[in-house]
């Protein structure tokens, strides 16, 4: 049995189709990423799966339970960390944790093994009010509260948005350890560079799934010739390449431009053309597609 099964899910708010015809499943024990920008429909899908919204069409199950009919069963066996910080700001770290343990009919002691690695970092602040914690600490506390009843499936909606690179890296390390406990994790993020940390991902944009596969297969699926290029005048280079007939698309990609060509033109030929246009210090290499390249191509 799959941990999550989603079939033909549609949901609109007024005229806005938030998610349309979503189909995918998440295997038991899998770390699955839902990757897409703000407004793509990630949070709507999370709310449907966590029984907080009823879909207009289609159905979904979590651990075999239907999200509409069996919502009470689902709520007992999932952990949910919403995108917006939703703990009690006026309660201390320890009080929040106690509260969530109690409403799920358990105790901190009983499931301490699950949160131990995370909680040790919070322990020095255990009497501090949740509202007074830093972004990274809030995120850790929210994760502890979502875990304290030993859920079968964990839903993390943009857990790393707004936290710094160190906290983000630590957070992903924690997710890997939780996976080792057999917990299924569905995590969403707008940051494409986090995709490679998941076992499988779904790329989502404007309510539709663009592709579902392992991050490796998704980047390998980019079959067009791709180059990274720079020259002494980055902005002029962008404008010049856009004029060329061999250019399918060209966009800034950090230090380089990424150029996708529509023919088998060699990097030497491109370089010569650019030299004729007055570019110097030209650097051109064949590039390996990233998740962002694929996303741009599928959009």
């Amino acid at each position: 049995m799959n941990a999550i099964e989603i079939k033909n899910i549609n949901k609109s708010f007024g005229d806005t189709q938030a998610v349309s015809d979503i189909n995918f499943s998440v295997k038991k024990g899998e770390l699955f990423g839902l990757i897409g920008p703000d407004g793509a429909g990630k949070s709507t899908l999370f709310k449907i799966l966590t029984t907080l919204l009823i879909p207009d069409e289609g159905n979904a199950t979590v651990s075999g339970f239907d999200t509409v009919k069996d919502y009470k069963r689902i709520r007992k066996i999932i952990g949910y960390m919403p995108g917006k910080f939703s703990l009690y700001q006026d309660l201390s770290v320890q009080e929040n944790l106690n509260f969530f343990a109690t409403i799920f009919g358990t105790t901190i002691e009983k499931n301490y093994h699950l949160i131990k690695d995370i909680y040790v970092q919070l322990e020095p602040f255990k009497n501090r009010r949740a509202g007074k914690l830093s972004g990274g600490m809030k995120q850790k506390l929210a994760l502890c509260c979502a875990l304290i009843h030993e859920p079968e499936v964990l839903f993390l909606d943009e857990p790393t948005t707004g936290v710094d690179a160190v906290s983000r890296a630590e957070f992903w390390e924690m997710l890997k350890r939780l996976k080792a406990h057999g917990i299924t994790i569905l995590v969403s993020t707008p940051y494409m560079d986090e995709a490679s940390l998941c076992e499988r991902i779904a790329l989502i944009q404007e309510g539709k799934i663009l592709q579902i596969d392992t991050p490796q297969n998704i980047t390998n699926s980019y079959s067009k010739p791709l180059f990274e290029i720079k020259s002494h005048d980055f902005y002029q280079l962008l404008k010049d390449l856009r004029e060329e007939p061999f250019t399918e698309r060209v966009e800034p990609f950090g230090e380089y431009l990424h150029l996708t060509t529509n023919s088998d033109i060699s990097s030497n030929s491109i370089s010569e053309i650019l030299e004729k246009k007055g570019h110097t210090q030209i650097e051109i290499n064949q590039a390996i597609a990233s998740i962002e390249d694929v996303f741009l191509d599928l959009m």
Partner: protein
């Protein structure tokens, strides 16, 4: 000095016993896209407040757009633009009204405001949105409009606070193209972010840790120095000490 948009020497800010910014020294060249990076709490915000004339330094010296951060804070404010991730646009005003409002705030003449409004709407292809309230604009449009509004008074330097969080890859690139265009026109761009992949788009970056600038260079130099493949890894090495 003439070629620098920003020069800071030993710039320091103390709150009581706590040193939030500890003698930072750096220069930003005219037309440069400079990334100002650091973890939450590293002192970025305090440093920027000093640079834009909102907080008086405890020690050191700095000039921004040629003006002194101690004595000429009003001149600084006239010569810089500021855009935050939250956007300073009024959601209940139309596109035109927002441009008008900011043009007025910066003291542009009526004639100039009309010109600017027309050129922004033209350049951003916003004609069909001109009389719609900003709240109804897609995120990507808001972002570009927000940048245009921050530049309405032709500032010498634009400060961008986490400009592209959460947008799709295409929108993000359109935004960076605007930044490159501005930089190409000689406008200096000062970007703060804690998203390191954004840092890769900057000409040079500095990384603040505990109030000090611990690294400064092009993204490539920093990756080579720390022998890693991404700015994320540079940052993690530095911040974890």
């Amino acid at each position: 000095m003439e070629n620098n948009a920003i020069t800071a020497i030993g710039l320091t800010k103390k709150f009581g016993d706590f040193t939030a910014v500890n003698a930072i020294t750096f220069e930003v060249k005219k037309g440069e896209i400079f990334g100002f990076l650091g973890a939450n709490g590293a002192g970025k915000t305090t440093a920027i407040k000093m640079l834009i004339g909102l907080s008086r330094p405890t020690n050191g010296q700095a000039t921004v757009a040629g003006f002194d951060v101690f004595k000429q804070t009003n001149r600084i404010k006239e010569n810089i633009g500021y855009m935050s991730q939250k956007f300073s646009l009024y959601e209940d005003l139309t596109v035109k009204q927002n441009i008008n409002f900011y043009g007025g705030i910066y003291g542009l003449s009526r004639k100039k405001i009309i010109e600017k409004t027309a050129s922004i709407i033209e350049n951003l292809n916003l004609r069909s949105y001109a009389n719609k309230v900003v709240g109804d604009l897609p995120l990507g449009w808001k972002q570009r409009l927000s940048f245009a509004v921050a530049s309405v008074h032709d500032p010498k330097i634009i400060f961008l606070d986490e400009p592209t969080g959460g947008v799709d890859p295409a929108t993000r690139r359109q935004f960076w193209e605007m930044i490159y265009e501005a930089s190409n026109n000689g406008i200096t761009i000062f970007v703060t972010t804690h998203y390191m992949d954004e840092a890769e788009y900057c000409h040079r970056v500095s990384i603040m840790v505990d109030g000090k600038i611990e690294a400064l260079g092009t993204p490539r130099e920093l990756k080579e120095r720390f022998k890693v493949n991404s700015m994320d890894d540079v940052f993690i090495q530095l911040a974890r000490g």
